[in-house]
């Protein structure tokens, strides 16, 4: 054997192995610490060797450990004490490229150079390039930042299990940053409105395993609501709705165990509010009106200033005086959807308050979010009938009916009121709307569509 044995007790080898394992699991501080230990152990054994070639070889090996640990200045200092011509012949050719790389990494602009490259690759959505850069330069970002970057890249690559694991890792490094949790649930919240319910479900299940938090349970319950809504039959819908309620209960229990500061987070409140709404509407759909109301009561206690919760309680308790009061409250608090007006219009019509009905129908038709086809047509029908009773011109009434019939030619209530109008009777029929359940579901779906979800963006990490 002509090969000198350097690390006889194996301590440096074990330290380097631990560093390697830490790096593989994204724990860069530990990797750095262990590589530093491995390098120091090697350096310590230099005096035990007599031959200059061995001494220089050990320096080279120690410098390699420091390099692997991102300790580039330390590696460079050591390299400056290595005489290339004294290295063993097999190794000598490895030294020049190594020292070039060390010098490059020890330079003042190294971090900003790599970060710029990361940014460029992010802009061009070159996911493999970003992963490669993070593998080659694992110390240019803090460990939580690397984990977050990897999580987002994994999301882009649809590797949801890995994304969930990396989000958990990022959270481990930044336990007081709730925005990471909201970044993690952003996609499963967004997917259903893009008709990607299965993908949302796949992802949220992985997130539940790695980040069992009120927000992830809440999003799981919301995704279950979508799955139940899209279910092929009643049995399946019931099963999925029950799953939804189970996740909702877990979300609520997890929320109650949060610290006051965490519980106050406005983003968490938004997600939880949506979970409350979808849970109440699912219970309503399951015929469990009392439980649905209880859920709404809880939501109102949690956020009494949110118009949405009042509207939802109105929806699940309508028709009742309490529901009317809830809708009025929602409007007073600034509900800008058509829902409270739609119900109040129906209520006014049922009480033969035609001017009230006209006012609420007009308000409903004016709102920012357009009602769905069936609801919009009903509103035109009610408006037409009420105006006819209040003495409007027949032509105007005819036009309103015409608009409604064009929007939804199959609207039976509208057709019936049109027939009554054509017969010259001023007694519009006001039946309980056929699709109260559908209206309730529409409310939740509309809310989802306009829910403020922004995709996580790690750009901020590299541009800071």
């Amino acid at each position: 054997m002509t090969t000198p044995v350097i690390d006889r007790d194996g301590r440096s080898t074990v330290a380097a192995a631990e560093a390697q394992a830490a790096l593989a699991s994204g724990d860069t501080p530990r990797a750095q610490e262990k590589y530093r230990e491995a390098g120091a152990l090697l350096e310590r054994c230099i005096p035990n060797h007599r031959r200059q070639s061995e001494k220089h070889l050990i320096r080279f090996l120690a410098a390699t450990q420091y390099y692997k640990g991102g300790l580039y200045h330390k590696a460079l200092n050591l390299c400056e004490h290595i005489q290339k011509n004294l290295l063993p012949p097999d190794v000598v050719s490895l030294f020049p490229p190594f020292i070039r790389d060390v010098k490059s990494r020890a330079s003042a602009d190294y971090t900003s150079r790599v970060r710029k490259e990361l940014l460029r690759s992010w802009t061009s959505q070159d996911n493999p390039r970003i992963l490669g850069l993070l593998q080659d330069h694992p110390y240019v970002l803090p460990p939580g930042g690397v984990a977050f970057f990897r999580a987002v890249i994994c999301e882009n690559m649809k590797s949801y299990e890995a994304a969930a694991a990396f989000y958990a890792e990022a959270l481990r490094w930044n336990p007081n940053d709730p925005s990471l949790i909201f970044a993690a649930v952003a996609l499963p919240l967004k997917f259903p409105s893009e008709a990607r319910i299965d993908e949302a479900w796949e992802y949220v299940q992985k997130l539940l395993k790695t980040i069992p938090h009120a927000a992830t349970f809440a999003v799981a319950s919301i995704v279950c609501f979508h799955r139940a809504t899209a279910a092929a039959d009643d049995k399946e819908q019931r099963r999925l709705s029950n799953d939804q309620i189970r996740y909702f209960d877990e979300a609520w229990a997890a929320y109650l165990s949060l610290s006051k500061d965490q519980a106050k987070d406005p983003e968490l409140y938004l997600i939880l509010d949506l979970a409350f709404e979808t849970a109440a509407i699912s219970l309503f759909r399951l015929g469990e009106q009392l439980r649905a109301k209880q859920v709404c009561d809880e939501a109102i206690r949690l956020g009494p200033h949110s118009p949405n919760t009042w509207t939802v309680r109105g929806i699940v308790t309508y028709p009742s005086d309490g529901a009317v009061a809830d809708f009025q409250n929602a409007i007073a608090l600034g509900d800008d959807t058509y829902f409270p007006y739609f119900y109040l219009a129906h209520n006014a019509l049922a009480r033969s308050d035609y001017s009230g009905a006209v006012q609420f129908c007009q308000e409903a038709l004016k709102t920012r979010a357009k009602p769905n086809r069936r609801i919009e047509a009903s509103l035109y029908g009610w408006l037409a009938s009420s105006k006819y009773v209040l003495g409007s011109e027949k032509d105007e009434v005819e036009t309103l009916f015409h608009i409604g019939r064009q929007i939804d030619p199959e609207n039976l209530d509208l057709e019936e009121n049109y027939r009554v109008f054509r017969e010259g009777k001023k007694e519009p029929r006001v039946r309980p709307a056929r699709e109260w359940g559908q209206v309730a579901i529409q409310h939740a779906l509309d809310r989802m569509k306009h829910f403020p979800v922004s995709s996580p963006n790690p750009k901020v990490l590299v541009s800071s």
């Binding site: 054997m1 044995v5 690390d7 192995a17 390697q20 190794v91 490895l94 890995a162 790695t210």
Partner: protein
């Protein structure tokens, strides 16, 4: 009588015939359902550096054996490795044997193994992942077949990866391990074997070369298999006498005389 694998024994161990084994309730490790070389046992197998080996390479081995390139059914805890073995002293033809590499209790020794497995393809490049996995397989196989214990990692330019002590052997020798992810093209593994053989023998008169291919054409089996070469290589006397180096040596000897 010999065991069905064709071997009569390995270093320090003799395997009786199958009937005798059944009678004595002994399980031959080369039997398909025989014992499993567990990755968690690396420290016990290689006391000087096994802890490091397990830390650094065991998870990678599980990843390559169980997840990628050939995903195994959920709950799989071991994988068969077909081995082409040239045992010491290296003058016999290769024998084909099987071993099973397992990770049954590895999670007790590697915290968050499942998370590491999810992280690995993103935190390590594919080449390093394969190389590390191959080193773990090499460490298990060389201990089992040759009774060899890895002593320490060898530095760059040494020829091999590890210094290895054979039971009863006077001097340690080298072992070089290498991995191939997918050997769809025939000859890749043989070419690597040749390359590593030359590499080891540049600095050592003998040594081991281990090449593990994680997706190797399965032959009779339906899917790809894991295949490993474990060859004891030695500078043969014919080669010493022949070739440029041999001739030079002869000339020098003559001059001295």
């Amino acid at each position: 009588m010999v065991c069905h694998c064709g071997m009569t024994g390995t270093v320090g161990r003799t395997f009786p015939a199958r009937a005798q084994m059944q009678l004595r309730n002994i399980v031959c490790p080369c039997m398909p359902n025989g014992h499993i070389l567990q990755l968690e046992d690396l420290p016990a197998m290689h006391p000087p550096c096994g802890v490091g080996l397990r830390h650094a390479f065991a998870a990678q081995a599980v990843y390559r054996l169980c997840i990628d390139p050939t995903p195994q059914p959920l709950g799989t805890m071991d994988r068969t490795v077909e081995i082409d073995w040239i045992k010491r002293p290296g003058n016999a033809p290769a024998v084909q044997i099987q071993r099973r590499v397992g990770w049954t209790n590895l999670q007790n020794h590697l915290a968050n193994l499942n998370t590491i497995l999810v992280h690995l393809p993103f935190t390590l490049n594919a080449h390093d992942l394969t190389a590390h996995a191959a080193l773990a397989v090499m460490a298990l196989v060389i201990r089992d077949l040759e009774g060899a214990v890895l002593q320490t990692v060898l530095q760059i330019g040494s020829g091999g990866d590890y210094l290895v002590q054979i039971q009863g052997g006077a001097r340690p020798t080298q072992v070089e391990g290498s991995g191939i992810l997918n050997a769809a093209i025939s000859g890749v593994a043989q070419a690597r074997l040749h390359q590593k053989r030359v590499q080891v023998l540049t600095r050592s008169p003998n040594g081991f070369v281990s090449i593990t291919t994680f997706a190797h054409p399965g032959g009779q089996q339906p899917g790809p298999i894991v295949h490993s070469y474990m060859h004891y290589v030695v500078q043969g006397p014919s080669k010493k006498a022949g070739g440029k180096r041999g001739e030079k040596r002869k000339r020098n000897k003559g001059k001295k005389k």
